[in-house]
Each structure stands twice: as C-alpha cells, then as structure tokens.
Symmetry: C2
Amino acid sequence: MNILVTNDDGINSAGIYALVMALKEIGNVIVMAPLGEQSAVGHALTVSLPLRVTEFHKDGDFFGFAVSGTPADCVKLALRTFLAEKDLPIPDIVVSGINHGRNTAVNVIYSGTVSAATEATVLDVPAFAISLTSYHPKADFSVAANFAKRFAPYVVKSGLPKGTLLNVNIPACKEDELEGISYTRQGKSYWDDMFERRLDPQERPYYWLKGHYILEDKDEDIDDIAIRQNKISISPIHYDLTNYEFLDEMRKGWKKDF
Amino acid sequence: MNILVTNDDGINSAGIYALVMALKEIGNVIVMAPLGEQSAVGHALTVSLPLRVTEFHKDGDFFGFAVSGTPADCVKLALRTFLAEKDLPIPDIVVSGINHGRNTAVNVIYSGTVSAATEATVLDVPAFAISLTSYHPKADFSVAANFAKRFAPYVVKSGLPKGTLLNVNIPACKEDELEGISYTRQGKSYWDDMFERRLDPQERPYYWLKGHYILEDKDEDIDDIAIRQNKISISPIHYDLTNYEFLDEMRKGWKKDF
C-alpha cells in the first residue's frame, strides 16, 4: 500500500512523526508537508507565489518533502505534479495529521488538516484526517498513530464515495480506556472568541484572537460527544455545501426577479 | 439598514469599490477588508500573528478599515470586537465581494469571498457572497453592484436559516442581457491544474500552480450552467459538511472495532 502523509502543524511536528512511524509498518509512506505551522489556514491554496520543496530528515528514520505552502498545496503539488516527476507511486490513500487538537464541529471549516484530506478527495484519492483531542505540549500521539495503522487499510479496502472523506478524532486517553468507534455527524459546538486589543512598544494597537470552545451538543451521534465518551469519532464529510432543504424553499417562496 | 462589506481581492480592488458605492444608496455601509489580495485563502484565520487595522480612503467617497489578515479575520474581528469598540452598529447583513472571478462548484471551498460570508453566518449574521464571472482586468462590476443593492434588503427581510448563507454569481453580461435568477446547487466542475516547474536565476527549482476550469455539469439547476445562460446563480450553502447518506451506510456496514 502506498500512503501519502501530510499535516498542518508542519513537517517537524510530533504528530506527523508518530503517524509516519506507525504507517511505515504497513506500507510505503511518502511525506509531503508544510515547512512551517499552518494551523487554521482552512483550504488555502498558494496561487500568487511559487512553492519551494526541500528535503527534510529527522532522527535518521523520518524523511519527507517540506513545502513552503499550505496543507492543500502539499496534496495538490504531490498528486498533480511532484510524485510523477520523481517517479514515486500515486498513493492508495492520503492521511492528514495527526493534528495537535480536535477538529470537530465548526473547527472543520478552519482546519488545514481536514482541508488536506479534502484536497485529496477533490483529486479522487481516498483520504482521512486524524486529530488528537489534546493541546498538551507533550501529548501522546501513540493511540492515534496505532489507530491510523489499523484503519488505513480498512478505508482502502472499503472505499469511499466520490467527493467524501473521513474526519477522525481521537480522545486523549490511553489505549485500554478507548470505548470503541462512533460514526458521527459534525456537531454545532463553537468558539466563544474575541480579539484582545493590545498596544505595541510604540503604543500602536494590535488585535490578537483568543477564545474558548463551547460544547453545544448533547446527542450521542455528534463528534464532540463521542470523544467525551472516550470513543473514536469518525465523520464522513463532503464538499457539496448546498443546503438542499433550503434550496427547495427558495425555489418555492423566493422572488424570481429583482 | 447597516451593512458590513468585505472581500478577498483586497480593500483597494475595483469590485469592493463598486459594491460599496451601490450599497451606500440603501444603507449605512461599514467596510472592513484585507489590506492585500487574499484570493484562494479559503477559510483561513490568523491565530499565530496579531492583526493590524489601518484606515483606508479612496477617491474622497470610499472609506474603510484595512486589516492585515484574511477575509474571515475581517468578519470575525469586526463582529466580535472592532465594531463594538468603535461604537459602530452591528450589521443587519454582511456582503462579501464583488469577487473578480466566479465562485462556483469546487471554487467555493477555496474562496476567501465565500468564507467571509460563511464566517458571518457562523457568528449569526445573515450574509451573501457575490462574484462576477469575469477575469477581464477591466471587468464591469456595475451589473453585480446593482443586483447587490436590490438583493440585500430582500435577504434581510426574508431571513436565512441558521448556518446558511447565499453564494451569488453574476454572469459577465450587460444589465439588459440578464435572463433572470436561478436558485442553484453547487456543481461539480473542477480545475484541471498542475504545477509548472521552473528554475530561478540560481538554477533552483520552484513550482507554480496553473490550470484551466473544466465545465462538468449539464443540469439546468447547477451554478455554472445558470451563469452560462446569463442567469444570476444563487446557491444556498451551509457548513454542516456531514454526508448523511454515507453516514447511514457506515453505521450499517462498517466495522465497529479496529
């Protein structure tokens, strides 16, 4: 099995290292990931600037291609140009992560980790994003990495519908505390956030985003609730954003000329 | 009516100028838009850096706040902090555009213009994105601007479901060539794109994205098809990305333990 791995925390982060070490046990892993941290970049693509690719080595056993761009750039560059140019195989699956922090509910639209997997789906390669629900600086990625190793072959074998990817979130618990899998929908939890106004040394104002996450949902089948119950949350998501129900209403009730 | 206007082409672009001039005829317009071009940034938020706000004047009749960030930053900063700090009114609607180029089909996930409107929706303010299907350097934004002026009060009056925004695309034709409105779904057209490998003056390689857009759809109710028929395309979109149909299948057929 050929696996392309990327992330949004950057190629030098602990999450991608743990993921690559685990996936190497089951397949041929190629890494193409952002040189620097790219959290909350969403589905950004770099169009006004060119991209640079540099080789990246770590600890003797980790090798990858570092890209001066976003997670979606990495996947598009790999699948559309770079792998073929280097005579590297087209992957059977793209795995994005392990993100340091949850990607549930509204976070999905901000997440570079999820967007990398979405870009793979746009380019017709099955993909999942995987995130660990912990912001601890020394978070243990081993439970998530081990799950990715068991899950990736199953996804390849089962297949995914065109345009659909999987968003996996792992609770921050030990392996023997896991309560199984839950196939979930994206929840409605949100950020209660604002910008803190500060003054720089020249007394000029600047604004910095801060906030805390509000757990809004209660239903068992919601991503954040599954995690809270120590279950691994797996949500199938797609990028057909049409609200079909409201489209129907508009067609019936809204004006046709303005 | 209080209207917040933003865009992704930057505060100094022709599209936002035309939009603001038109909307000023029907309401109190506040502009908060990126200082520089932010095309294809998707739903990026700036979290690792602070934001700066500067006042921007143009031609004596255009005033706005320029932000050193993304379109989603502009909307979040305005709605969560800046407007209140300056004793400015909370808007009745957020209008994002006029984008220089279409935002249909897969472009929706890359679009900073759409993401700004999505961020307004996340923060419970009705919103629409508006884009002109023209890449001509001297594109005429007047048809789009006039439509925005007629449409904004109707959206405020009609209301939108929680979590849903409108993605409006205007054909590049004259006012009297318009063939009316079509309430559409997001199509499946895509980019046949790749990265061109070049060498810099030091003979080092770099990669630059290029591509052309493939019109995939044929059905009348698709965004790109409506535009081709000189209709204004209006798609209701939301950010619940769950693929409910496949979620059902997974619950029935996929393994529950790994």
